[in-house]
Symmetry: C2
């Protein structure tokens, strides 16, 4: 943020003829109060992680999560609480074990990647071929991995904006399919994570049409370190691994989105859409990813609603089945493709503080951007010229070319926890969670009381 300070940023954006929202006089006070006292977001996260726990997409646990969330939303006073069902292809974890058998025998901590193939209950044993990166795997000759287990390492370091995920993520997203195409019997990757915990990071991988899914797993970072030290100490001796993974594809099962509203004064105006996802991976309790996001948007909508009926309706979308392929997001976009939305915001990057405000109308509607940025500066949120792209569950708005706001969260710690057994309530910092609610309250309150078009820049 060198050479980009608030005052300069705001004055550069000060185009006088742009429209300004007329927000309730009490909105700023409501946001300040949320910073000190909000208990709504915490109540949601504590409640669903205690009473339901993990909510894997397409399973009975996700259905219990929907039922729990609908009861909670109704009890909080939301209107039009409803489920919007859809069906999906569902994969579930089975047994998972890995051990090095030679030359240095010991067990390693491993977890299957979503859509992994199975080894069968008796497992497989094969030599491990070491690739320090996704690029190194890509460079391997076709057929060179026949009958082998490919290991893909990579460097992933914490970044505030989460960009390390884009850098390291391909090892999980496409590495297994590349290894499969080169004939590998199985693939094991270093977890896509920035921690030193012993829990491995799961997450989906994709085997395109025509590529047979092979067994695919992630090692915890300490176990990946250990395996890489074995390669150094083995001095060329082959390293053999035994791997047992028994996941299954269940076929089509039921899932659903949950929606709820704070109705606005003018139902003819397109609503403000706030999104999060209700499903989680099965290893943790889905506190950070993404119960926190649902708690934040619900708390903000309630705080805004309590200042008087907003101009526009605020709609919550608690999407289902985000983790395993954005099933809920696609179903929502399909069902609501003819509906207009004023603007969309999503919370799906943990519970740590908001540090930057991005929109896709900063250039086209600078007065509105200026008003938003000025309103959240007191919470430590910086202005920006980055263009908001919206979260994974905002497909419906991206497909319309609609307006988006990204309240950027500090991601420094996020990939320590992401998709691991460590994603539990104790990892949510209540102080940072309240900062989130305060910023969301302020921003959603302004947006829901703004008339006219938001006009994203071309």
């Amino acid at each position: 943020m060198t050479r980009f300070h608030l005052a300069a940023a705001l004055s550069a954006l000060a185009i006088p003829h742009a429209a300004i929202a007329h927000v309730p006089a009490t909105l700023a006070q409501a946001a300040d109060t949320a910073l000190e006292n909000d208990g709504i977001a915490w109540d949601f996260v504590e409640g669903i992680t205690t009473e339901v726990g993990p909510r894997q997409a397409g399973t009975e646990a996700e259905a219990r999560g929907r039922a729990w969330a609908m009861r909670w939303l109704a009890a909080q006073g939301f209107a039009r609480v409803a489920e919007e069902p859809f069906t999906m292809d569902t994969w579930i974890r089975g047994e998972e074990q890995a051990a090095i058998t030679a030359p240095f025998a010991q067990r390693l901590v491993v977890t299957a990647l979503g859509n992994s193939g199975a080894t069968g209950p008796r497992g497989l044993e094969a030599e491990v071929v070491y690739f320090p990166s996704h690029a190194a795997l890509q460079a391997a000759p076709d057929g060179s991995l026949a009958g082998k287990i490919a290991y893909i390492g990579h460097a992933m370091r914490p970044t505030q904006d989460g960009s390390g995920y884009g850098f390291a993520g391909p090892a999980r997203w496409t590495g297994p399919a590349i290894a499969a195409r080169k004939g590998a019997a199985a693939v094991v990757i270093r977890s896509i994570g920035t921690d030193h915990h012993r829990g491995a990071h799961t997450g989906g991988t994709t085997f395109p049409e025509g590529v047979r899914p092979i067994p695919a797993a992630a090692l915890s970072n300490p176990d990946a370190d250990n395996l890489e030290r074995m390669f150094r100490r083995a001095a060329g001796q082959p390293i053999r691994m035994r791997l047992v993974l028994t996941p299954r594809q269940l076929g089509r099962t039921a899932s659903g989105n949950v929606v709820a509203e704070v109705p606005g004064r003018d139902p003819s105006l397109p609503p403000v859409l706030l999104a999060c996802h209700l499903d989680s991976w099965d290893l943790g309790t889905g506190a950070v990813d993404d119960a926190a996001g649902c708690g934040i948007i619900a708390a903000a909508a309630l705080h805004v609603g309590r200042q008087g009926t907003p101009l526009r309706t605020i709609r919550l979308l608690f999407a289902g089945a985000e983790e395993t392929g954005l099933w809920g997001s696609r179903a929502y976009a399909e069902a609501h493709r003819n509906e207009r939305f004023a603007v969309g915001l999503e919370s799906d990057f943990g519970a740590d503080r908001i540090w930057r405000l991005d929109t896709n109308f900063t250039e086209s509607n600078p007065a509105l951007y200026r008003q938003l940025a000025a309103a959240v500066a007191r919470f430590g949120v910086a202005p920006s010229r980055e263009v908001a792209t919206g979260g994974a569950d905002l497909n419906v708005i991206r497909e319309q070319g609609g307006a988006l706001v990204d309240l950027q969260q500090d991601g420094t710690r996020y990939f320590d926890l992401h998709h691991t057994p460590e994603d539990t309530l104790d990892k949510v910092d209540p102080v940072q969670l309240r900062q989130n609610v305060a910023v969301w309250t302020q921003v959603v309150g302004i947006l829901a009381n703004t008339a006219g078009e938001f006009r994203p820049a071309e």
Copy 2:
């Protein structure tokens, strides 16, 4: 440490007629160099955790650990490297699963305690009875737990001196037997640990003669938090848990101690005994508990030996089977009960820095204490009037009423890792490990070059 500063402490101990060691002129420099450069301790910890990994007492993995350590000790130039075998009762872990089934269904992360009984492969399901502490369990009426699962919570907070273990430990050490006596079907405790990791803390529990071992497990701290929240949210509804634990007692199996020496100039003088333990629990790789201790004492002995042959022999005892009942320590004491030892020191509290020097001859041999304290003050080690009690593997010296030195390590972080899957190499801080080696080099060098009796205080 208010009102207890080094200068005052040393002057109070300045009794003029006490004997002083005559140490090699290069000893202090060797210790300083170890602080900057020691690679021996790290090489041991990296090597054994990579090439062997977990080394559970009485198992084939512990035997591989002994063989690895003996090769390493011989390669480092130690003399009289030998195994001293013994046999022991061996318990091994099986399957372990726990889930709350009502009113809030979800799986919990659990690990069996050493010597736990088994549920059988089909498990058991029962109501959980909540006890916030060991004392609360003790107060339960006899027979009141018939057919129930007792849950024991407790508060354990990090302490630099590790005293939190003494405060919270009884929940594991004797809680399961108390629950068994009161008729419980099984017992689950909050992990004896100070972390927020998802790995539960194992460790031995004791069922005295006449008490039938019941299934006994620890929950990870986040899962214990979750269970306690369930009790609050259940508002009196019974909480039911399903538990599967299939550990087994294997009967007598082989274990052994490993010894090695740096021979002294005067073999008629009792040796200095340095102890650690080579076995570990099975969940981690035993890096912090206690490969680090063995690496530290070996590195110190080598650094002292490289300054010229010491007056006394320095003997290393890499004890076997410490974790499951001090089998190695007892075997060593039995085999060496007629041998005299000058003084004993043990490293078995992790790899963090040494912060205090305790002996049991501070009062009776103040000049020697003064010399030791002055020599290590530059490494940040404080003097003390606490009386050293020696580590678990120094039975042989305690039984003789011999001299002991405790180089107290900072335990603030130790019980985050203790007996968990997290005990892996990445948790060893190389800088703190080198401080350890430096302090040990300085202290062992002085002790090994001191003539006469060490005379512990009565």
